[in-house]
Symmetry: C2
Subunit: 153 residues, 2 copies
DNA sequence: AGTGAAAAAAAGTGAGA
DNA sequence: TCTCACTTTTTTTCACT
């Protein structure tokens, strides 16, 4: 992966629905060369996928909450099934297993507090043996939210 | 926005680089109808953008850290410029202003601890008057990370 | 709004440098 | 691995239901 690929990646990370011709012009290459590079980047898994970013407002999911979870120590061996539970929960947009006194941090995106409450109820019901404690950090403002990575070597 | 649009959205949220024909077949509509719907969804801002998701491994950004920041109370009126600072920082992938004893939560994605340390140094240097305290939650594992929203009414 | 066909645009392929 | 010319696929447009 050379410098041109990185330039292509940083363009595609911002907007991927541009014709190859446009990219070709900015990197001074022919369209086919650019298309061939993009195919290879997909092939090699450098580009994992191309996705549509949907407006949270438009589908009424404007409430973001970071949830810090502490897990019962006795259940540390059952974490796998809990991770699957999280992975399947549609309200959970992101989720990390972290160091420190907190064990998991979840980013939960829902319609409103009622829906959040329902989510927490479900969590505490279906995973009551596991979760020792939780803390909700309600996002008053999302300053920035995306998946862009700095791509330079 | 009807049910068909929502189906289209949920497909596009997963993978947006499929021909309209494929979507047309799954929603039982002609290609032109589907393309017209997609154009309108973009036009109306329901689809904010189409982006490439880049593999963190492939570009060597495998260290994710959640940073909790507490802000000096005296500087609450200067938050705007701090938000701009965060927005411009390439290491900061996401950032929320939250309720509770913590004020901001940042998702910082970097190459390694050295790079993270450099980031924190820069933060503390350039925003020393603002930041009272910070806490790093290092992600040992990213269970799930994306921008997908449940799209149903 | 939708369909289906024609036109336009974009992406993919292969020979030669 | 690039470019250039060519083919195939996809998207857009348009007349009509």
């Amino acid at each position: 992966m050379d410098d041109i690929d990185r330039t292509i990646l940083s363009i595609l990370q911002e907007t991927a629905d541009v014709p190859g011709k446009v990219i070709a012009d900015t990197v001074n290459l022919s369209t086919s060369a650019v298309e061939r590079r993009i195919s290879k980047l997909k092939q090699d898994g450098v580009i994992e996928k191309i996705v549509a970013v949907v407006s949270p407002k438009a589908v009424d999911r404007t409430l973001s909450i970071l949830v810090e979870l502490e897990i019962q120590n006795e259940h540390r061996h059952t974490l796998e099934q809990f991770q699957r539970w999280l992975d399947r929960a549609p309200e959970v947009q992101s989720c990390w297993y972290v160091t420190g006194d907190v064990d998991f941090v979840l980013l939960v995106v829902v319609r409103n507090l009622e829906e959040y409450n329902a989510f927490v109820d479900r969590l505490m019901n279906e995973q009551q043996a596991l979760v020792r404690k939780y803390k909700s950090l309600i996002a008053l403002k999302t300053i920035k939210h995306g998946l862009e990575l700095s791509v330079h070597a």
